[in-house]
């Protein structure tokens, strides 16, 4: 992708193709570029040094992070390539949920799932490792564990699990799979923990749960795929199953014997923050035949067999397109073209240095693909947790106690970190609501949780957090525990509703709201007395957040 930075003509085409309301390139100074920080002042007029521009930077950071702050957007806007941003992100210290949970507990806060969710918000809003955190959140919706299970009382097990995701989010997918499979949280959630070898005399088999979902959801999927993610079909046009029930059972036998580290199988002291270990006497040592008729010889250890299973699945031709497509859906587009999937899958298979599974390279390929930077496609419906995080980041939200307490966001949004109803996440990758989308053959996974109840509950939650703001006057903020926005820096814009709407739309929606709609908003805002700039800012923000257009990341 270095080609982008070295190919000004190509870059120019891409930049001019994106955004809607102006300000996306850097050749023309528009209303949206003339406001707060005037990022275009340093623009050189030569094509060779074309800067990314404000709207393109805002658009990129909406995908690659939990939303850009003004400073981040303006900084990236002035760059001529994304290389420095990626390098900085790759080097950023991972924000650790477990460290945050333990530190808060040490200060006297209750150890609970609420504390874990607070740590998630903290890392999403305050973490400097934004790309890592955004990728980790995407991975948490593929490699799913949930506290809606027997893990409800184990917040540290889930914080440890999330740290596995974030630590490896820009690392290697095979390494990640190995740590995920051995994590006690996953062991409990999908029952590899405590699965023992079969006892045919008692009609007892090995537990199939992890074996099945490891293939169906974490690696290869149900049907054989082409390199571009489209289904392979047989002579009659039917899809082809990736594996058989017998292979699920045989692989389940290979995955027996796992229990607590330092203990004997399931007997021993619970250790939620260290990899599980296997007990030989509980492990099935017979020979097995797994997916694609790969043989596992008799007499091997549980550890060796788990590695063999993971290597086999990681190297399967399905894994790259299967995982790549879902990561694209989480970051950029619900409906990537087959060619886009194929390009990203190719990077998954080989990062250019012969390494398979390099997630930093995959993230770069997803975010810098021509389809992502161009104007084609419909984008994706924003995830509700990310909408709130974006608002908090853009408006520098904080509470007096330094915490981000919103412990049960699912009540408003039907989404909360590591809290999906099942291993099938909050929504299916192929969800399509009846109507125009289904008729067009398009999917919109996030619309599965945007219904007539959640749209109002979620809207109300955003309203409540928006109305908690610090203003130069008439502040509604009075306590130290509720996260509140800082609207003060925006009040100077309020004298011009046109400019206020344009600036907010730039930073919230990468200037994607049409001039017609912006005009309606600014006309309404002008009816608010100019002596109440904080009310103009608050109402502009609230209206923009509720616009149907704002629900869609384009």
């Amino acid at each position: 992708m270095k080609l982008l930075a070295r190919s000004p003509a190509f870059l120019l085409v891409l930049l001019c193709a994106c955004g809607g309301g102006g300000g996306s390139g850097s050749t023309g100074s528009t209303a949206s570029d003339s406001g707060l920080l005037g990022s275009d002042t340093a623009v050189m007029e030569t094509a060779a040094s074309k800067t990314i521009g404000s709207a393109a930077a805002a658009r990129f950071l909406a995908r690659a992070s939990f939303g850009g702050t003004q400073a981040e957007i303006n900084s990236l806007a002035a760059q001529t390539s994304y290389d420095k941003w990626f390098a900085t992100q790759a080097a950023a210290t991972p924000c650790s949920e477990l460290s945050r949970v333990d530190a808060q507990t040490a200060q006297g806060y209750t150890l609970s799932q609420a504390a874990r969710v607070e740590a998630w918000w903290y890392c999403a809003v305050q973490g400097s490792d934004q790309l890592r955190q955004r990728m980790a959140f995407a991975l948490s919706q593929i490699l799913v564990v949930s506290d809606q299970s027997t893990l409800a009382g184990q917040p540290r097990a889930l914080a440890y699990y999330y740290d596995i995701l974030s630590r490896n989010a820009l690392g290697n997918y095979r390494t990640l799979l190995g740590e995920v499979a051995r994590a006690p949280a996953m062991g409990w959630y999908l029952n590899m923990f405590g699965s023992r070898k079969a006892d045919p005399s008692k009609n007892i088999r090995a537990d199939e749960n992890f074996s099945r979902e490891l293939m169906q959801l974490f690696t290869v999927g149900l049907i054989k795929l082409q390199a571009n993610g489209a289904a392979q079909t047989d002579g009659s046009g039917a899809t082809i199953a990736t594996y058989t029930q017998t292979q699920v059972e045989q692989q389940a036998n290979a995955l027996t014997g796992w229990g607590w580290p330092g203990g004997t199988f399931i007997w021993g002291t619970a250790q939620w923050t260290a990899p599980m270990q296997a007990t030989a006497s509980m492990h099935d040592v017979s020979a097995k035949t797994i997916i694609d008729n790969v043989s596992i010889a008799a007499g091997q250890s549980a550890d060796a067999e788990l590695n063999r299973v993971l290597d086999t699945l990681f190297n399967h031709a399905n894994t790259a397109p299967f995982i790549s497509r879902q990561l694209i859906q989480r970051l950029v587009s619900s409906n990537p073209s087959p060619a886009y999937v194929a390009r990203v899958a190719a990077v998954f298979n080989n990062n250019g240095s012969g390494v398979r599974g390099d997630l930093l390279a995959v993230a770069r390929a997803i975010l810098l693909d021509s389809e992502a930077l161009g104007s084609s496609g419909y984008g994706k419906v924003r995830e509700p947790l990310i909408r709130l995080a974006q608002m908090w980041r853009l408006f520098q939200a904080s509470a007096g106690n330094g915490r981000y307490d919103f412990p049960y966001p699912e009540a408003a949004f039907a989404q909360a970190p590591l809290r999906s109803p099942s291993v099938f996440n909050f929504y299916r990758p192929d969800y399509s609501p009846p109507g125009a989308l289904a008729n067009a053959g398009l999917v919109a996974p996030e619309l599965q949780i945007l219904d007539e109840s959640t749209v109002n509950n979620g809207g109300t939650a955003l309203y409540y957090f928006a109305i908690r703001y610090r203003a130069s006057k008439n502040s509604t903020v009075s306590d130290s525990t509720t996260v509140s926005l800082d609207l003060r820096p925006w009040e100077t814009l309020a004298s011009s509703p046109v400019n206020l709407v344009a600036q907010l739309d730039l930073y919230l929606n990468n200037s994607s709201t049409s001039p017609t709609v912006q005009k309606k908003l600014s006309t309404y805002l002008a009816t608010i007395p100019s002596t109440q700039p904080e009310v103009r800012v608050f109402e502009a923000l609230d209206l923009l957040m509720h616009l149907p257009q704002s629900y869609v990341q384009r």
Binding site: L447, S453, P548
Partner: protein, 457 residues
């Protein structure tokens, strides 16, 4: 579903509108015009979806000595003690069961009572099928099989769709599509979910309304009582109209959800104001969902609705682990919640107009892993209501023998009835004509029994 199939199905609906549906609609309109009594022509179906794949082999358990012996042999560590089972009177003589007797799980006294009072029917061994299937045909793959057997998400979808395949619409959605043009059906959606979006209610033309257990939430922003409230509201209404015209269909969808949410929430809040349930419900999620269904049924008059399809759910049935303890809690909640719901509809005088039924991803393996069971196929369904000919087991119960004629392997039971036969029996009671049943359930014609017979009217 591929576009061609979708168009075909839509075409099927349109063709039906020119023939049999016309008669159906005429009948609806006559009935709607004629009705004036309290219960009138009202009918409601309530789908109680048991997410995760319910181990119904431990919900309905044989109590006859020989059959219990087979049960305990195959279930191993999952065996329930005979002494705790709640015995069921055999009110009906149903040929497939022979002399076998059954009992409910010990946690289900309300279900036992409903059965013994003839208000609950058990439908034995239901699951997705394309056509009737024997074990030999399953092994030889000589009859088309439902795709992706034993996968949660695929089997959920097929059960809800009422057809084996990747159909994105559900049978309740297609029933609502058929009725969408019935003039007296109000603007309120026929399909109401208290458990989020689901395939069962997804129509091709019609969209369900999603309610929460605590009612229809309103957006706080619209309740602001300041001097600009009406101007703000007018502005936003205009913005939704503008969003409808956007070329991006995702924006159109969001706009439509917002508009339905704003309009319907206020209407429902008015209709539900002052409505309470006639009996108390469990405080569980399922109990509160069913309480809201009972309130909606109580408010049917002011809402002006005659046909409603409700979706509620209970999760946690994927018992790969710790099954006995987990299912005892789940079954207790299920039983108490369904008992309260039936008591409510009786108190409201509409018991004969409301039918609840359970469905699940799949049954579970009859054999055990250490202390749980894995993904199976056929399962028992419960049907409850005043219109049910209850007190019997319809269909065949699992033989409980490995490698027997109903075993797909490790005690994954090949269904006796297809989910479409179950759905068609319910849809027929709901008012769908026989001809339209073939539109709603495309594979129904592959089965000779079109009505299982558990509905009395």
């Amino acid at each position: 579903m591929n576009p061609d199939r979708r168009r075909l199905l839509q075409l099927g609906v349109r063709i039906a509108a020119g023939s049999s549906l016309f008669a159906t609609l005429g009948a609806y309109q006559r009935a709607l015009a004629a009705t004036s009594s309290a219960s009138g022509d009202y009918r409601a179906l309530v789908c109680v979806f048991l997410f995760g794949g319910c181990d119904t082999a431990n919900l309905v358990v044989p109590t006859s000595a020989s059959a219990y012996g087979l049960y305990s042999a195959i279930r191993s560590t999952l065996t329930l003690p005979l002494s705790g089972l709640l015995s069921l009177n055999s009110l009906l003589s149903l040929p497939l069961l022979g002399s076998n007797r059954y009992g409910f799980h010990a946690a289900c006294p309300e279900l036992q009572s409903l059965y013994n009072n003839g208000k609950l029917a058990i439908v034995g061994n239901v699951g997705p099928l394309v056509a009737p299937l024997t074990r030999a045909q399953f092994q030889a793959k000589s009859v088309p099989l439902p795709p992706q057997l034993f996968s949660h998400i695929d089997q959920q979808r097929q059960v809800m769709a009422g057809m084996a395949g990747s159909e994105p619409s559900g049978w309740a959605g297609r029933v609502a599509d058929l009725m969408a043009s019935a003039a007296a059906q109000s603007a309120l959606a026929t399909n109401i979910s208290i458990a989020g979006r689901n395939t069962w209610q997804a129509g091709i033309d019609t969209v369900p309304y999603v309610l929460s257990s605590s009612g229809a939430p309103r957006m706080r922003y619209w309740q602001a009582g300041d001097s600009r409230a009406s101007a703000r509201r007018a502005l936003f209404t205009g913005l939704l109209d503008a969003a409808d015209a956007e070329s991006n269909p995702m924006i159109q969808q969001v706009s439509q959800v917002q508009r339905r949410a704003i309009n319907t929430a206020e209407r429902l809040a008015t209709a539900l104001n002052g409505i309470s349930t006639p009996v108390s419900f469990p405080s569980s999620s399922l109990g509160q969902q069913l309480a809201m269904v009972a309130k909606m049924i109580a408010a049917r008059g002011s809402l002006g609705v005659k046909r409603q399809l409700f979706f509620v759910s209970q999760g946690g049935y994927d018992t790969h682990d710790n099954q006995l303890a987990t299912q005892a809690k789940l079954f207790a909640d299920l039983s108490a919640s369904l008992g309260a719901f039936q008591a409510s509809t009786e108190a409201l005088g509409v018991s004969g107009n409301v039918t609840a039924f359970t469905a699940t991803d799949f049954g579970r393996t009859l054999t055990a892993n250490s202390d749980g069971s894995d993904h199976g196929w056929g399962s028992q369904s419960l049907v409850i209501g005043g219109g049910v000919t209850g007190g019997g087991v319809y269909g065949a119960m699992p033989s409980l023998l490995l490698n027997n004629s109903d075993d797909a392997g490790s005690g994954r039971v090949i269904p006796y009835y297809s989910t479409e036969q179950l759905g068609a029996t319910l849809a027929s009671w709901f008012g769908v004509s026989s001809a339209d049943l073939d539109t709603v359930f495309p594979n129904l014609r592959n089965f000779s029994t079109r009505n299982i017979g558990f509905m009395s009217s």
